[in-house]
Structures are given as C-alpha cells and as structure tokens.
Assembly symmetry: C2
C-alpha cells in the first residue's frame, strides 16, 4: 500500500500507469514475497523521475535527511512503520542513539533530527544524539527552530559497545552517510544494531552497483506485470577509471556515451518518442567534487571535456545514465517526487522543486526547494468524500511502486556488500 497523496499529475493515465494500477494485488504480493527473502533498507528516500513515456528512480538515498519535509499527517504512518522495524530488529530495545552528520549549522538539518527524534520517541524508544566527531568533547546544546532543544553528546566506546554518558543503546541509527569512510569507533560493533549497516555509506556504495541490481529487479517486475522493464529504469553504464585529461580517456568515455545513446535511440524509435536522447555523467561513488554533466552527443563531450576535467579529480569513477526530463511541474518549475520509506513501507513524500527550470550543463547545486505532498483525502472532510477519494485512482501509487523497486535494489546491493556475508 502506498498512501494516496496529491500529485502534480493531471494528464491522462498512460498505459504503464494503468498497468501498475490494475496489477496492484499482484505487485503487493510480489513485494511481500521479496521481503521474505531480503531485508528492507531501514529507511530511504528515492528520487523518482517521470518522463511521461517512462519512469525511473534516479537516486536511492539510504540516509534520508529531510524527514521534516513530510506533512504532519504522515507522522503516524512513519511511527507505525518504525514500530514494525524495531519489533523485527530488536524487540527488547529501550534506547536509540542517533548519530548525526557534522553539519549542525543547518537549521533544516536540525529540524530533520528533531523529526527523527519524534518518530522514534513515539515508536516507544528513549532517544539521544551522539557525535562521533573528534571535535565534540563535551555535551553541546543545539537550538532547533520551534522545537524543544536537543543535546549532542560525545560518543564513547566501552567493551565493544558505543553509547553516550549513562545511555547504553541497543540500536544505533546513522543519520550520517559516512562519506569519508567508516570511522574506527563504528567498526566491529557486534553487540549492537547499526542502522543502516556501514556498507550503506558512500565509501562502499557505487551507483553502478545499485543500478545493476535495479535492472535485475525491474526485469523481474516487467515480467510480472507484462511490460517492457525499460519503462521503469534508466539505461546505465560506468567508466571506473576515467581520466579526462588524456585524449585516450576522453575517447573511452565518448565510446561509452555513444553506446548508451545508441541503445536509447533504438528505444525512442520503438516507442516513437520525440524527446532528444541524452546521457548524464556523474560520480559513481557520489563524490561531490565530480559535477553532473548532461550530454546529447559525443561532439558536445569533446568540446566540454577540458572544462569538466578541470572541475573533477585527475581520475574518478564515473557513472552514466540515460537522461530523463521530468514532465511534472509545480508552479511552472520542474518538480520531481521524492518518496520516503521506513522499513518496507512507503510512508510519505514531497516534491523536489528545482530552482532553475533549464538544466545546466554542469550542475552541483543543491538549492532545491521541498514542497510537501498532502494526503489526497482531507482528514476533516465528511465520510462521503472519502469514498470518492478512495475510489479515485491513486496517482502516487505508481511512484510508490517505482520507489520500492529502487529500495529493493538497495536491499540486494547491501547484501552483496555485507562484510559478514562476504567473509562467510
């Protein structure tokens, strides 16, 4: 089940969406059976791009950091899902330690932390915040706009367990994507549950691995509902050791881009799609020093290669995916739905509204605004309206399905990189 949220979609329901809506019981059963075999990601945020003729999840964030951007109405769903997750992981849990990012100057991030605290407190846990930053040597009071204050305490390690003063947690929730590697203090914590696991950090993750798993998931999904799986995922490729300062390096990337463009053009011809095929180049391990680059042909690549090479490190692992432009608009700005999950459940979402309508060639901005999605059925309307809302098609359902395909792929991905499974 996916909550019925108001979407910006107003056009007619296309064939893919109709197929997804019609196959709802089969899809839900398929997910149920998948979760018998695989562990859902603890929480995640999935960017879904709707190009009209097809959809694709473009990012599966395993450290979602905008829980505060969901509407208040979604809080009970998130809490109930958190209860279900805790019950499976550690039913005897009393205490939860949240380890935030170091960027505590951001009031949006503090509001996010406050919302996480609310969710897990309402799920029945004592919640504290611990810092693994070496700079935090004593308790720091943080002011959250419009909320109760919170204190950030230094994390201490004792006999193979971590905690803060007088607080021994059973479960540790990472709100810290461990971009610069897994710190020693978090290693070998065999007595406590670390969520998500360390291999969910970007020092281990690779976009190419995620999208490889996604392709596998989508092929099975396509078979299930009888549609071309390409309608639900983007074509991808990777260049693990790209060096754009050399002629050979540029040519290697160009051959990858051209091969992807050929595959996309073939599909566009098959479906009579008039959109101009494009390939997006970005960092395979989400290295922020590597900008995002949208390419329409290899000639453009040749002319812009020097500019791109100057912006990125000498050598980098690059990831390539089929470009998808969003057909969704909120107040004339390009918008794309972001779907939030907790345990196996879709618990809410919002639109990421891009600051600039025109896609720039080299984009590193994160200046997107969030527009919360409300439930389609107003909680205060009389009963009669529920029925019409309940029987109107849930346009958010499709996004919830596409998001869960990506979340399932992330689950496969974390299994493939689990250090304990690897050692076994």
């Amino acid at each position: 089940m996916v909550p019925h949220l108001v979407t910006a979609l107003t056009g007619p329901i296309n064939e893919l969406e109709q197929r997804i809506l019609d196959s709802m019981p089969a899809i839900e059963r398929w997910f149920r059976l998948e979760w018998m075999e695989h562990t859902p990601t603890f929480y995640s945020a999935i960017d879904v791009r709707n190009a009209g003729y097809k959809l694709g999840p473009l990012d599966c964030d395993l450290f979602p950091d905008a829980w505060h951007a969901l509407t208040p109405g979604m809080l009970p769903l998130a809490v109930q899902a958190a209860m279900a997750a805790i019950e499976k992981i550690c039913p005897e849990a009393r205490n939860l330690l949240i380890i935030p990012e170091h960027r505590l100057e951001s009031s949006a991030y503090l509001m996010h932390l406050d919302r996480l605290r609310t969710i897990f407190h309402m799920a029945g846990l004592n919640v504290r915040f611990g810092s693994i930053s070496p700079q935090v040597k004593k308790s720091v009071a943080l002011q959250v706009p419009g909320a109760a204050g919170m204190s950030l305490e230094p994390v201490v390690r004792h006999r193979g367990r971590i905690g803060v003063k007088d607080f021994d947690p059973c479960t540790i929730l990472l709100s810290n994507s461990l971009r610069s590697g897994i710190p020693g203090i978090l290693e070998e914590l065999h007595q406590q549950y670390l969520l998500p696991p360390v291999q969910a950090g970007w020092s281990v993750r690779r976009r190419s691995r995620h999208f490889g798993c996604l392709e596998e998931v989508c092929k099975r999904f396509g078979k299930l509902i009888g549609v071309d799986p390409w309608l639900a995922y983007p074509f991808t490729d990777a260049c693990p050791k790209a060096r754009l300062t050399t002629r050979a390096g540029v040519q290697e990337l160009a051959s990858h881009v051209e091969a992807l463009l050929v595959k996309i053009r073939k599909k566009h011809k098959e479906y009579a799609i008039s959109d101009r095929p494009s390939v997006v180049v970005k960092s395979d391990d989400a290295d922020s020093r590597v900008p995002t680059w949208t390419l329409y042909d290899t000639k453009q690549l040749e002319t812009q290669a020097a500019q791109y090479a100057a912006a990125m490190p000498e050598e980098a692992a690059l990831f390539l995916h089929e470009g998808l432009t969003s057909v969704e608009r909120v107040n004339d700005a390009v918008a794309q739905p972001v779907v939030y999950t907790m345990d196996r459940y879709v618990v809410g979402g919002f639109y990421r509204v891009q600051a600039a309508v025109a896609p720039s060639v080299l984009s590193t901005t994160n200046d997107d605004a969030f527009l919360p999605l409300a439930f389609a059925d107003d909680a205060h309307l009389p009963l009669a309206s529920l029925r019409s809302a309940a029987h109107a098609p849930n346009r958010f359902y499709m996004y919830g399905v596409i998001a869960r395909l990506s979340m399932l792929a992330a689950s496969y991905e974390l299994e493939a990189t689990d250090p304990q499974l690897e050692a076994a």
Copy 2:
C-alpha cells in the same frame, strides 16, 4: 505508538495519565515483548470508559463493525497495519474472502463492509464477499450509499476449503460474530486462515473469561508503571447459572452484588472518591435477550428482580462489573471513546455518543451515534504547527494503552479457548 487524536478531554492531566505518558517507552517495550509471546487479535474495537478517577475497558469487540466511522485520515494507518498482519499470517496471499453478518438491510453496515474492502484492497488483496446464509443461493447485488456496488456470493465448500465461484481465498475474514454458534461450513478449515478464529465468536466467548485475563494483564501492567492496577480495570464477578424467578436465585445474585459493592466502597474510601458505587449486571455471553441492569444496592435488586427476570430467559449466565460513569461529554451528551486496532496497532477511534444522558435501569438500546475522532495535527497546517502538536501531550495515548490491555487480554482469552491448543 498511538495516533494523536483530538479528545474531548480538556481538564488537567491526572496522576494516572501522567504516569502513563511518562512511562511511554517502557509501556511500548512491554507490549512489544508481549506480542513476541502472544498473537494479537486480528482486529478489534475497544470501548474505554473514563470515570476521571480511573479508567476501564468495558468491551472488546472482536468483530468491529464500524470501520466506516473512522475518519478518512486513518485509512493509511489501517492499511499499513493490515499489510503487516497479512505478511505474518499468509505472505503469499492473493485473495481475501469477507463473510458478513446477515443484516444487510443496514446501510451503515454496508458502508462498513465497503471500508473493509477498501482497506484490504489497498493492502494488496483481491477482495470478495461470501455469504454463509442458507438463504443466499445465488449472487446478490448490494448497493452501498456513495460507493461502488458489491456482490454477495454464496460460499461453497470443496475439499476442505471454502470460497465463492472461481475464487479460492487463502484467508477468510469474519465480519460475522457467529452469535448462534459455529456453522458446519466453517468447521475444520485446516488449509485456510480464518480470522478471527472461530473461538472469537460469542458462542464460545464469555465476558467473565475476558475480564479474568484483563485482571491478570492489568496486575502486570500496574507493576510495570508502579500504579494500583484497579485504576485500569473494573472489578468483576459472575453468576454462571442465575435463575431470578426463584427466591434463592435472587439471593445468590444479591450476595455477589453486595460482595462487589463492598470491594468498590473500600477502594472509593482509599482514594476519597465521592461517586456512588454501582454494579452493572449483563449477559456473560452477550445474549441480547438479557438486558443491562445498573444496581446501587441490594435493596434495589430485590425490588427490580421480578422486572428483570421477566425480561431475561429462565436461566442465564450473568456477568457483573463495577459501574463506571463517563466524565467525557461531547455537546453535553455522555461520550465514550472507542479505540480501533488492527494487528498490534491502534489505528484510530471515535466517540460513541449516548442517545440518553441519564443511564436507564434496563438498557438494551444500541442507538448510539458515532462521532469520528480526527487527528490532532491537521495535515494541511504548516510545519511550525506540527512541532507544537507533536510536543503537546497526546491525550488519546492513554486510551490507546487501556484499549491494548483489553486486546492483550483477548489474545490470552483466545489462546485459552483455542480448540487446537486444547486438544494438544
């Protein structure tokens, strides 16, 4: 977690409520551990009476029949809880058969069935309705006010399984309390899941057994949070073979009533409660021919015994409980919260507003009106208000806890009467 609903409570938070609010993480953990050992009731509706100085669940309905009376905003919570339930019971489920009561002339009941259909459809199941009434020999079209029509098909049994034409369900949901016994067609269904199980029907259930389990549950709960368990349940007693047409029969009942009044008076003295102690007499097996009788002393019993005896069968199993008057008022009418659960989760509630303010001596009316409870935090308010709502005490929480004590007691009760466990 209990959703934060608007309650009619406006007075100060008393000691018991404060204790419950303060002990939230301990309470939630205790319930989590209980559900590791015991199976939650599939769904239930619990009437909670708040007398101000104490609370008590007065009825735990295992066939809740007013799902349509919950606000639309609670639908996603119910659906998510249904998903969690299905996943545990029968993850490979495709089809669900709902078996309604025979009273299909009630449009409220049809709206309830429509809501059940919506919940389980959104949870990912194909839903059909089957009748076990011998009168239903072919498919009957039912018109539901403001909703899509539904058809009621005759249930057929084939090779130890039941279903309707071309529909083989994995799970059968009873919306039929089997008051007149377990029909043969539902017996020995070992290949399908019958929810709730047959012993949840009133041909097996006894109020005295439920309240016996409740007392046990409340004693452990009282120990957990350090309060007198009597503050959370009513004193009870039973008269298994009451015959009020005989002098001896009346005297026997009088002695039970007097013993209960003595226990209540002692507690009232201990807590300096000014309410007049009372005892409510009703049928132990919810026999509708036995009216409800409120008694303040044994003299009243003597004078009214003949009137009561004339209204009930010659011999009946009677159940007695401490009378609790509700302090809650909605528009000056006596109101009592009804809490709805699905699987282990509290998913919503409403107020049952009594038609008559003054409690009548012999009450058999079911003319109560339902007033849906809305979420305290409006889904459409800006973020700032969430924080204030999230940090305001959740007055509905206490009701959710009391309701779950009763639901846990029902779980113990169903285990005690499970025919398979009994046979083992």
